[in-house]
Subunit: 391 residues, 2 copies
């Protein structure tokens, strides 16, 4: 008989959506060419700036995080230049693939791939070395929190390196904005991208692109090669009038305004601290259960561990889902590693708190024991609880 | 910085309402004299019968549990007879007060009060003795789970005693129906009453009255003394046509249908078992923290403990609410005891699961330590977690 009956999405996106947001999205549709919509959109944009920690525009684009990242990538490359794409996991590799696909269209002379082992973070020195050797790199892509490996990069240090060059830094903040400290203006991030379905507590469907001054200037130099989602100039021009170039997902925009209000009511720094505490408690519980962490440079938005020898991935994930209503994620395969079936991951982002983490640790412990492990009952919640009790 | 940020109502009513129910209640109002409403109402009534475990009518009445209990009390007394009102807490005393108030109107010759100490349960033998000495008792009121003392009575045994007499047994199932095993037909309960805002996962506003065969017959013998909420004959007559005598709270009725569907999807016996496990884990955590339980015959729908010497009730309850978003209840004063400021109580009913209980135990432990107790950090969740790990 299950003692956990509430569905908990601990997957690193989509994550659970608060009832206040669901109810806001259930409001009747309003037309987007009205003062009522403009007021909502203006408030959303201001709240986004406060979460991105920028005074520059943050565009709201229909689509997922990938849509927005693709838009950022293809609008900012100088024809006849190189791109530098850094990867240590599945998502970094995706941004590499996008430039490979677009190379002929955009006139990319070389897409330089800087790879680090999965579970490790690139260093600023490594990035600096490549930039020095290739002064004709016009764009660098960097994943802040690599969701596939639960690994965080030092964006501040890398932004300091890139901003001394002519290259623009596009940061994948899809599992970092609104959950880890990311300071767009202070750190000199040129472009910061995220999606709605992670830390921002909305269903999938919106992406956000923060555009620093250097990126805005670059947009004027580069000719558009895409249209609806993909021409950032259109979104920027409309944004300056509190408007959108095309029919936007009105209900999602309404919901996002409310979700950001919740983040600001909690306080952005409190949200960061909560995510850090949840991640610390999760890692403590994994370690107490005898599991090895997947990252040497752990992110606080996603945490993960290797399964012990002989434990079946599908048994654990189906077990946590079917017996405890807790949804966790498995591993992914990529060019740098094959982690499918070998690891599991949980989210510490968005609408999740200590109660959910305790529930998740109980579920994982129970299913590991059902798969032949001999973890003393209560070990995982005791370890997580001890972290929470530190305050 | 709070690691618990989701508001959790662990008060023994109102309790949290699932988003599915909130969203159903957000549907546009439909008129109650339509086939659409009748279909919803018919389904609600059938689902209520399955939760009450009866094939007899279960009436849906606008108002709280008290409204419904008052209606049951005043419609079933034979003029010129006695009533027996059993109390071991605040709510049992309330049903005593109601008959005292109505005694002249209803022609009650004596309202016999059978009192047991708070925290203890009346026995079937005690009830039998009073009934034998007073064959002219026409109604007995009994609280199944006394919310003020977290104490459960043996309804099955007492119903067996009462059903051998001409007296009708009205059972207050306000914190038992849908959370503790209560079998209306099998146990021979004449009237079973509950409210919407406890185990049934709805906002306050609806009460339910299950009417057994003997109670239906009694309704024909007794003249009505009330009207809208208070004349059960009107509700019964309409019920037989899938209808309501007056404009009902349409949105609440829609929501209740969905909430009961959730209960049936989980399985009523699983719901009972979940409540029992949550209560067992709560009591284990209280004991592990060195607290004394308030009940000698503990209910599984509400659990409670005495504060240690010198700990302030308001500091604990404000602390769990303000620092952890966990709402717990304090004690109540009555004729049998004065527990205000001396105890706290939590709910194990309705939309609550092991994650919420772990969160609550963390909150209580943290606030007790903030008030000078020296509980080893993590003790409460470890004790609760060990119970959950027993499966």
């Amino acid at each position: 008989m299950p003692v956990l009956t509430k569905t908990r999405l601990l997957t690193p996106g989509p994550t659970d959506v608060p009832a206040d947001v669901l109810l806001e999205m259930a409001q009747p549709i309003i037309h987007h060419r009205t003062k009522q919509f403009q007021a909502i959109f203006a408030e959303l944009s201001e709240r986004l700036q406060r979460v991105f920690l920028t005074s520059e525009p943050v565009l709201t684009i229909a689509g997922s995080g990938t849509t927005s990242f693709e838009a950022a990538q293809i609008n900012l490359v100088k024809p006849g230049s190189k791109t530098l794409t850094i990867a240590g996991g599945k998502f970094g590799e995706r941004w590499q693939d996008i430039y490979d696909t677009y190379a002929p269209t955009l006139g990319i002379t070389e897409n330089i791939k800087l790879n680090v082992p999965w579970g490790e973070a690139v260093t600023a020195a490594q990035v600096e070395e490549v930039l020095k050797a290739n002064p004709d790199i016009s764009v660098v892509t960097l994943v802040n929190s690599e969701t596939s490996t639960a690994t965080a990069a030092d964006v501040q240090a890398i932004a300091a390196v890139v901003s001394k060059t002519d290259a623009l830094l596009i940061v994948d903040g899809i599992t970092s904005v609104g959950t880890l400290p990311v300071k767009m203006d202070e750190w000199g991030i040129d472009v910061l991208v995220t999606g709605s379905q992670k830390a921002l507590m909305l269903p999938p469907g919106l992406g956000f692109v923060g555009l620093g001054k250097r990126a805005q200037a670059r947009l004027d130099e580069v000719k558009p090669t895409g249209y609806y989602n993909l021409d950032l100039r259109k979104w920027l021009k409309s944004w300056q009038k509190n408007d959108v170039p095309f029919t936007p997902p009105v209900s999602l925009i309404r919901g996002q305004r409310v979700a950001l209000e919740m983040i600001e009511n909690e306080g952005l720094e409190n949200v960061w601290a909560r995510s850090a505490a949840l991640a610390k408690a999760s890692r403590a519980a994994f370690t107490a259960m005898g599991l090895e962490l997947i990252s040497k440079s752990p992110s606080d938005s996603v945490t993960g561990a290797f399964y012990p020898e002989g434990v079946s991935d599908s048994a654990i994930r189906n077990g946590t889902r079917d017996n405890h209503s807790v949804h966790i994620a498995g591993g992914q395969d990529g060019r740098g590693a094959s982690w499918k079936g070998k690891i599991f991951r949980i989210s510490n982002m968005g609408y999740v708190d200590a109660g959910d983490i305790l529930a998740t640790m109980h579920a994982i412990e129970t299913e590991l024991n059902a798969q032949g492990q001999s973890i003393k009952p209560g070990t995982a919640v005791a370890a997580a609880g001890a972290v929470f009790a530190q305050g």
